[in-house]
């Protein structure tokens, strides 16, 4: 499936005509409608297959950003044409499609796909052709060894060390800090990677890990696992879940008449967990939520509103923008800054510019001069409070009047 968004959209033709008429009377600074041969930006997303739930969010965010960029001055004054292909959640498909994007579709620039495995597959192709690749969802930064690959999400170079400590710091602020923990994780590589990190860091800080359990991705029956968690009865349950696995774990626990005291979920489906009767006070990682102080960052409020409108129109059950969608927004912001900063579509020049400069994104100011082109980690903790996700930790990022609640 190929989708082209932006270049030949009627609204731009109309906008172009309107801008042309206006330019007769307007000062030169307002004559900024992109024109000329489109800059083709190619990417794949997992529009079908087991990662498709997240790809739809990224697709909406991407389309929104292409329109945003074209609504400004495009890239170097030229309109952006987004060439999107479906990698079906398969790394081998992503690899072939990036080859096609570069050699057959002759795209000028590329954006990364979603999730670690497709990103790694695409990165090999990008490296072969020397293309800059910006991605927002590679959970294992140390695997990003290509020097023109850039992260759009502030994971930091060692999230397996930094993430757990933010969580443990938050836990330590409880009136009764947890002393025991159960780690339950999917075998999905990035979840497993984080779980191992959590185990190591927790033990370093004297939190006893009672159980470390791994389950296959896509597991449906959590009955026996729930029975083990209940029997261990930890002070803190850490779930390395993807999608609705968190809901299934909590439901399985409730069927045993057990509610975990404090519980953290790694990559849950945000909407269903927030709305679930079992989700109250659930904790999760984030980089941004549609709340203050983040909404005061330039453009965030507008993007959040626009995203909600489009997601509702696309029939998504949870249409509030979150860190996932913002990752894609950040990708486009970095690409735009890189191209305009380098004043070139040349990948070497863009990469060189990004390594030397910071970029203002929805996640704040990001740098790319650290290990694996990562900058500082900026992980936050959010919590379900009254069926909404609220940033609760570190305290300076908590929305006004919101506090971390211990169970």
């Amino acid at each position: 499936m190929i989708e082209r968004v932006g270049a030949w959209r009627r609204r731009y033709v109309l906008a172009g005509l309107a801008a042309g008429a206006a330019s007769l009377a307007a000062p030169s600074i307002l004559r900024a409608a992109p024109s000329g041969k489109p800059v083709r930006v190619g990417a794949t997303l997992s529009l079908t297959g087991f990662l498709a739930q997240t790809a739809i969010i990224h697709k909406i965010a991407s389309e929104l950003m292409v329109e945003e960029i074209n609504g400004r001055n495009g890239l170097l004054g030229r309109p952006v044409e987004y060439v999107l292909l479906d990698d079906q959640s398969k790394p081998e498909m992503a690899r072939s499609l990036y080859e096609k994007l570069i050699t057959v579709d002759k795209v000028d620039l590329i954006q990364g796909p979603y999730a670690t495995a497709p990103i790694l597959a695409a990165m090999g192709v990008a490296q072969r052709y020397g293309k800059v690749m910006i991605q927002s969802s590679m959970g294992i930064p140390k695997l990003q060894t290509y020097d023109r690959a850039f992260p759009a999400t502030p994971f930091g170079p060692e999230p397996d060390k930094t993430y757990p400590n933010v969580i443990l710091d938050a836990m330590a602020s409880f009136p009764t800090p947890p002393k025991t923990m159960v780690l339950l994780t999917s075998k999905f590589p990035s979840a497993q990677f984080m779980a191992k990190g959590m185990q190591t860091e927790a033990e370093k800080r004297g939190v006893k890990v009672l159980l470390y359990l791994e389950y296959e991705s896509g597991n449906h029956d959590f009955g026996a696992i729930a029975a083990r968690v209940k029997e261990a009865n930890p002070d803190f349950l850490w779930v390395g879940s993807l999608g609705l696995e968190s809901n299934l774990v909590l439901e399985a626990l409730r069927k045993l008449d057990y509610a975990p005291k404090n519980h953290f979920h790694l990559y849950p489906a945000p909407g269903p967990l927030a709305l679930s009767p079992d989700g109250n006070h659930a904790l999760c990682s984030t980089f941004l939520e549609p709340d203050e102080p983040f909404m005061s960052r330039p453009g965030v409020k507008r993007i959040a509103g626009e995203f909600k409108e489009r997601a509702t129109k696309a029939n998504l059950p949870y249409s509030t923008i979150d860190a996932q969608a913002m990752g894609m927004v950040s990708e486009w912001q970095i690409l735009e800054a890189g191209v305009n900063g380098a004043a070139s579509l040349d990948d070497a020049k863009i990469a060189a510019w990004l390594k030397k400069n910071r970029v203002d994104t929805v996640y704040g100011s990001l740098r790319f001069d650290g290990p694996y082109n990562h900058g500082d980690a900026a992980q936050l903790i959010k919590q379900v409070q009254n069926k909404e996700w609220k940033v609760v930790w570190p305290k300076e990022f908590a929305a006004p009047g919101v506090k971390l609640i211990a169970s």
Partner: protein
């Protein structure tokens, strides 16, 4: 060492989870065993049913049992219609695998087009209800599923063993020409059986909507284990499919309780390999 309570609870959870394997396997087993058609679209039909139950329940307030009352007959018709296509194009066992895989892919795409790829969850007041029996908890929905699956499996088994139609179907599966010589109209019976298989997908789908997570790609997550269950339970034997489902479910669950949960999928396929190597007469 796991406690008796943990082992008992794991066994209960596993047997009940196996009920779902069995329910999904029953329709597949009938079609494969008695019609010699491997119907991969069975999983997609079950998920289509689940999505319809979700849609009717969430957006229109229709109780799942009323949804099931509409969906099951509709699925019967779809199953019969599917068989009309197989019959018209003289689809054999191998071709059925490919064609029904295509059906499943098309249905998956259709589901995604309408409901999007996003996760759907049908929340009901009774989704986490459990009965307490001593130190054990028995989830009500899963128990209901097992009872329904048991009634269907037992009823179908009796129907195949005791009625003329059932015996005729089995005879046709053994040797269609000889059965035809005795006046068995295999074509007509095949339509009926194909409809029954799809109707079972409708029943399974109703419970999937209530118990599991809905996402289009989830269609494929049951495939491996259900195939193992169909083979272990013996082709064309609904009671065998249900018992095999419960056996596999219980084994997986005990593996999760005693070993690592990640070992659970290994159990079902190891059982399959052992049984195929052992080659007992009942397979």
């Amino acid at each position: 060492m796991p406690s008796v309570t943990l082992l008992g609870q794991a066994l209960i959870s596993g047997v009940l989870a196996g009920g779902m394997y069995g329910l999904l396997a029953m329709g597949l087993s009938l079609s494969w065993g008695l019609l010699r058609l491997v119907n991969l679209s069975h999983f997609a039909l079950a998920f289509l049913s689940a999505y319809i139950v979700y849609e009717l329940g969430t957006n229109h307030g229709v109780a799942p049992w009323w949804s099931a009352a509409m969906i099951v007959p509709a699925m019967f018709c779809i199953g019969a219609g599917q068989h009309w296509l197989f019959d018209k194009f003289r689809v054999n066992e191998l071709a059925s695998l490919l064609i029904t895989f295509s059906f499943a892919v098309i249905l998956e795409a259709g589901i995604q087009l309408y409901w999007t790829a996003d996760f759907r969850r049908y929340e009901t007041a009774y989704s986490t209800l459990s009965i307490k029996a001593g130190p054990f908890y028995i989830p009500v929905l899963e128990l209901t599923l097992c009872i329904v699956a048991g009634v269907l499996a037992w009823g179908t088994w009796l129907w195949l063993r005791k009625t003329y139609v059932g015996k005729a179907l089995r005879a046709s599966a053994e040797d269609a020409d000889i059965a035809a010589a005795y006046g068995v109209n295999h074509k007509k019976l095949a339509y009926f059986l194909s409809g029954i298989g799809a109707a079972y997908a409708g029943v399974a789908g109703t419970f999937i909507a209530l118990i599991a997570t809905l996402a289009p790609a989830e269609i494929w997550t049951w495939l491996g284990v259900v195939f193992a269950v169909v083979i272990i339970g013996r082709l064309g034997n609904p009671l065998g499919a249900l018992l095999a489902g419960m056996l596999v479910g219980a084994s997986e669950s005990l593996a999760m309780a005693v070993l690592s949960p990640a070992w659970a999928p290994v159990v079902s396929f190891s059982m399959l390999i052992v049984i195929l190597l052992w080659d007992p007469e009942w397979i």
